[in-house]
């Protein structure tokens, strides 16, 4: 297990390097002139040139890439062109907010999705299954930003039960954090719950038809034990794969939800960076998101090894 962990961590390094390279050059393909947009329309040529030199974007692309990479490895993601702040610092201030949001959505999704999926599979073809399947089909089809708009309007603007926007100065204490994150987490978690429920149901149905489930029944084990010991673990493999996708989807969805609820997280930082052509900020944003996803996937890889002994042998 330790060897597997070390191996996966080692594999993550070139992966992060590849992400950095890919996104660095993709982002540079944007031809707009940041110096001009920072200084405004009435800036002189000289002022713009000076700004370009200050930002370092007058250097050749490869040397920019090299400089950026060397700094990034040391945890320095550069200076924000527009605010003048350290990007690493700005991002670290925002990480807890987005992780809280994504974790809320994921918790909701895993708990609701897995239970509904297992229940539906055990009752396949009966009314419980049909109701769950319908709910999941509806849930998966709801755009998170539409749910966010509806929740914001009904629960925040109309009913005034929960805040529509982030408290100024940030939430204070657990109570305010929960209050501020409930609506956004629900908006994020609905589609993920539905997706996990569908996958769990389909995986469970597949596993329940397998011969080893029949063997377990033939051994005289009660249904609960057969499901708990023999079916769920095998059915979990595709579900875990899906959860990996869902973590990325939740972080992506946070872009919309943070925008609608005015949450100062990573998502709103990234959207802002894209709109302003703020290349170093965009790069930093993508790297942090990728880092989180890579860590989650390493955790999931380890769980595969536990779920499927064949993987463990192949290492």
């Amino acid at each position: 297990m330790l060897r597997l962990l070390v191996g996966r961590l080692a594999a993550a390094v070139p992966l992060m390097f590849a992400v950095a390279t890919l996104v660095f050059f993709l982002a540079q393909a944007n031809s707009s002139d940041p110096a001009g947009s920072i200084l405004g329309l009435d800036a002189t040529e000289d002022a713009i040139d000076a700004k370009r030199a200050e930002l370092g974007i007058d250097q050749p692309l490869l040397s920019q890439y090299g400089d950026w990479l060397v700094d990034a490895v040391q945890g320095d993601l550069g200076t924000n062109w527009f605010t003048g702040e350290e990007i690493t610092t700005e991002l670290f201030d925002r990480i807890p907010v987005t992780l809280g949001l994504a974790f809320g959505g994921l918790l909701l999704a895993v708990v609701i999705g897995c239970s509904l999926g297992v229940l539906a599979a055990l009752k396949a073809g009966r009314w419980q299954d049909r109701v769950i399947t319908v709910i999941a089909s509806l849930g998966i089809a709801m755009p998170s930003f539409w749910i966010a708009l509806l929740l914001a309007y009904y629960f925040a603007i109309e009913l005034r039960w929960l805040p529509a926007v982030w408290p100024p100065g940030g939430p204070d204490g657990i109570g305010e954090w929960v209050e501020a994150l409930v609506l956004p987490s629900v908006a994020l978690g609905v589609a993920a719950s539905a997706a996990i429920a569908r996958q769990t149901r389909s995986a469970m149905i597949g596993v329940l038809q397998r011969d080893y489930v029949r063997t377990a029944l033939a051994k005289g084990l009660p249904v609960r034990r057969v499901v708990g010991r023999h079916a769920i673990r095998n059915a979990a493999i595709p579900v875990v794969t899906l959860i990996g996708f869902q973590v990325a989807a939740l972080l992506g969805g946070s872009l919309f939800v943070e925008l609608i609820f005015n949450i100062p997280g990573l998502g709103s930082y990234g959207v802002d960076a894209i709109f302003r052509g703020n290349v170093p900020a965009l790069l930093g944003f993508v790297m942090v998101i990728a880092f989180v996803v890579v860590l989650v996937n390493i955790a999931l890889d380890l769980s595969y090894a536990w779920l499927n002994p064949k993987v463990r042998v192949r290492g």
Binding site: L15, I140, F145, L150, T215, L221, A249, L255, N308, K310
Partner: protein, 646 residues
């Protein structure tokens, strides 16, 4: 199979009402999209009158107007165009890249797989929407470029899924079988792997189409998809957000449009998946209890019921009376009987072989005795007695006790029967722990003894191995150890050697024979191969098309069979054929259950058939050596084994 797969899929799909509603709705969306310029009462972008802002629905503005006075209903119709176009573009790009790539790397593995998977991981490491944004930053904004970016990102998901499915398909024996049979790589991929990957791909593709429509809405909502002059549903939601402090209404119609279209794609895709599935439904741990059927003086074909074969077992461990199993026939409301009124006895310490070709109903008979008839099946019997306990209508929990302790089962496919996620030791120990309440240590010690008893070398170290670390023959010995764990009175062995290598088949049969003698255990051995039973069985019951057609002592049945079907089975034993001749087979196949005639089930394949055979149902009656279900049993001098069966 009388219907082609395609017809069956179509028939199942059209019977699925929800899927058809989804399909019809999609058709409507497509028509609206095509005819939007004709159907829309107002222009896509121009406000009719500037002051008509945020109107409620009216006869002029069916769905009201937005914050600059544009007709929402008209924009909604044009929006269908953008949604479908965007979805199709992304899905086509994703499939065109992902499927061939996934098949390729899943099949060849090695360095190709490693390189491609690193790229896939790189792209997937970043959330789809973020990666799409990074690509859009390179490509430039606009709907077509945005959806191309989305398609590229989604192709990674398709690649990963196809590869995983190919891996799974490779685990199945049939692919190895095809490779072993010398099929070419391309042929294996397209003939054997792709059809098994297809259902999963269809599910994923529908989800992806839905996802692409959502992505289009999302990117347009953020302002980097559809332009301000394109009435995309996402763009409409973006506009609606501007007036959310006044009214939510402009967000409702476009939101519902995205939502309902995505739902329609999903339900249609689900319908397709169900239609493709080998079984229309199932998977539920629905094991029907065996229903009580009163012992009837005549059986379902109007023939008096005789006490069959059982008379020869003086001290029966198992007596089955009048066991029938029916399944609903797909596509009809009718039930079809696959087993009709079986009587069967197994004496104490006796080995009884239940013999017949596949399709004769012998395996389902075994499952019925266990109360494990798969879900839509209905088993009924007037009595199933196991050592004095009536199993018919016994509650599931109570029957579970008996299943684990008094009856042990060996199934056909050892690797399918063993759970790949648990060590063999844990699986063998499970009934010991559960039924006998043994401690972990005691169960482990006993498991080692059991593994040794079934002839697994070095059981102390093999106990912690996983099933995939065993050979087929050894894995089947593990299954045997599991079946023996609680000291069953009856061992049911359902084709225990069929899936095994020829060289180990004999060893496994010897093992079963040894175990039966040593433990004085009764065995019900189910097989299609009469040759298998020659060394092992005391008594034989021959099944054909849901009925027992002959019973008797092994020697008698081999020496002078009393039913033409038995004669055919004996003739098909390879060792009875002189070396020069071809292996004789019984012409034709076992008919499907719904084709069974009222008269003798074997008549159409029998070389001794006469008019009398087709005149009515044939009863199982006492014969010279046992019981026979043949009207000509006495007059025919059927050939048995020439030399003595040893």
């Amino acid at each position: 199979m009388s219907m082609s797969t395609r017809q069956r899929v179509q028939a199942r799909l059209t019977r699925n009402k929800v899927a058809m509603v989804g399909g019809v709705y999609l058709l409507v969306v497509v028509i609206v999209a095509l005819l939007a310029p004709l159907l829309a009462p107002h222009d896509e972008n121009l406000a009719t009158r500037f002051q008509d802002i945020l109107f409620s629905p009216s006869s002029e503005y069916w769905l009201g107007t937005d914050h600059v006075g544009r007709d929402i209903a008209s924009r909604l119709m044009f929006g269908a165009r953008y949604a479908l176009f965007a979805g199709a573009e992304a899905v086509v790009v994703a499939l065109a890249i992902g499927v061939p790539l996934g098949l390729l790397i899943g099949y060849f593995r090695g360095w190709v797989d490693a390189v491609v998977m690193r790229i896939v991981e790189t792209v997937v490491a970043v959330p789809a929407i973020v990666m799409a944004m990074a690509i859009i930053a390179g490509l430039g904004v606009g709907l077509t470029k945005a959806m191309l970016a989305v398609g590229i990102v989604y192709s990674m998901v398709i690649t990963r899924l196809t590869r995983a499915e190919v891996f799974a398909a490779r685990e199945e024996l049939y692919v190895d079988g095809a490779i072993a049979a010398g099929a070419s790589s391309i042929r294996v991929m397209f003939r054997h792997v792709l059809p098994n990957v297809a259902p999963a791909l269809i599910v994923q593709t529908t989800l992806l189409f839905a996802q692409a429509i959502l992505a289009e809405a999302g990117l347009s909502f953020l302002g980097i998809g559809a332009g301000s002059d394109q009435a995309s549903w996402g763009r409409m939601l973006r506009d609606a957000q501007l007036s959310i402090d006044r009214t939510i209404w402009p967000a409702i119609p476009p939101g519902l449009a995205v939502f309902s279209t995505v739902v329609a794609f999903n339900v249609f895709g689900d319908g397709l998946r169900d239609a493709f599935a080998r079984e229309a439904r199932g998977g539920r741990i629905g094991v029907g209890d065996v229903q009580r059927r009163e012992a009837r003086p005549i059986d379902n074909e109007g023939v008096p019921v005789q006490d069959a074969g059982g008379s020869s077992a003086s001290d029966p461990v198992l007596t089955v009376r009048g066991l029938s199993v029916a399944f609903p026939r797909l596509g009809t409301d009718d039930d079809v009987e696959v087993v009709s009124g079986i009587d069967l006895d197994v004496g104490r310490g006796e080995v009884v072989a239940l013999v017949g070709e596949s399709g004769s109903g012998k395996s389902i008979t075994a499952l019925s005795i266990l109360g494990l008839v798969p879900d839509p099946g209905q088993a009924s019997a007037s009595s199933i007695m196991l050592d004095g306990s009536e199993l018919v209508e016994m509650p599931f929990e109570q029957l579970s006790r008996i299943r684990g302790t008094d009856i042990g089962v060996i199934f056909q496919e050892p690797f399918a029967a063993l759970n790949p996620a648990h060590t063999v030791g844990r699986q063998v120990a499970e009934p010991l722990r559960y039924h006998l309440g043994m401690s972990r240590a005691a169960a482990r010690a006993r498991t080692i003894e059991l593994l040794a008893e079934v002839g697994i070398p070095d059981p102390e170290s093999r106990i912690d191995a996983y099933p995939h670390e065993f050979s087929g023959g050894m894995a089947q010995r593990v299954v045997a150890a599991m079946a023996l764990a609680c000291g069953p009175k009856l061992l049911i062995a359902d084709e225990p050697t069929t899936a095994l290598d020829v060289t180990v088949q004999g060893q496994l049969l010897d093992l079963i024979g040894d175990l039966a003698r040593r433990r004085s255990m009764s065995v019900l051995l189910i097989t299609h191969d009469l040759g298998v039973v020659a060394d092992l069985a005391d008594r034989v019951a021959v099944m054909y098309a849901g009925q027992v057609v002959e019973t008797g002592c092994l020697e008698d049945v081999f020496a002078s069979p009393q039913h033409p079907y038995t004669e055919g089975l004996i003739r098909a034993i390879p060792r009875n054929v002189s070396r020069s001749g071809d292996l004789p087979t019984i012409p034709g196949l076992v008919p499907s259950p719904w084709e069974w005639p009222d008269h003798c089930h074997f008549a159409d394949r029998c070389e001794h058939v006469t008019q009398e055979c087709r005149s009515g149902a044939v009863a199982l009656t006492p014969s010279a050596t046992g019981m026979s279900r043949c009207v000509r049993a006495e007059e025919l001098a059927l050939k048995g084994v020439r030399e003595e069966a040893s």
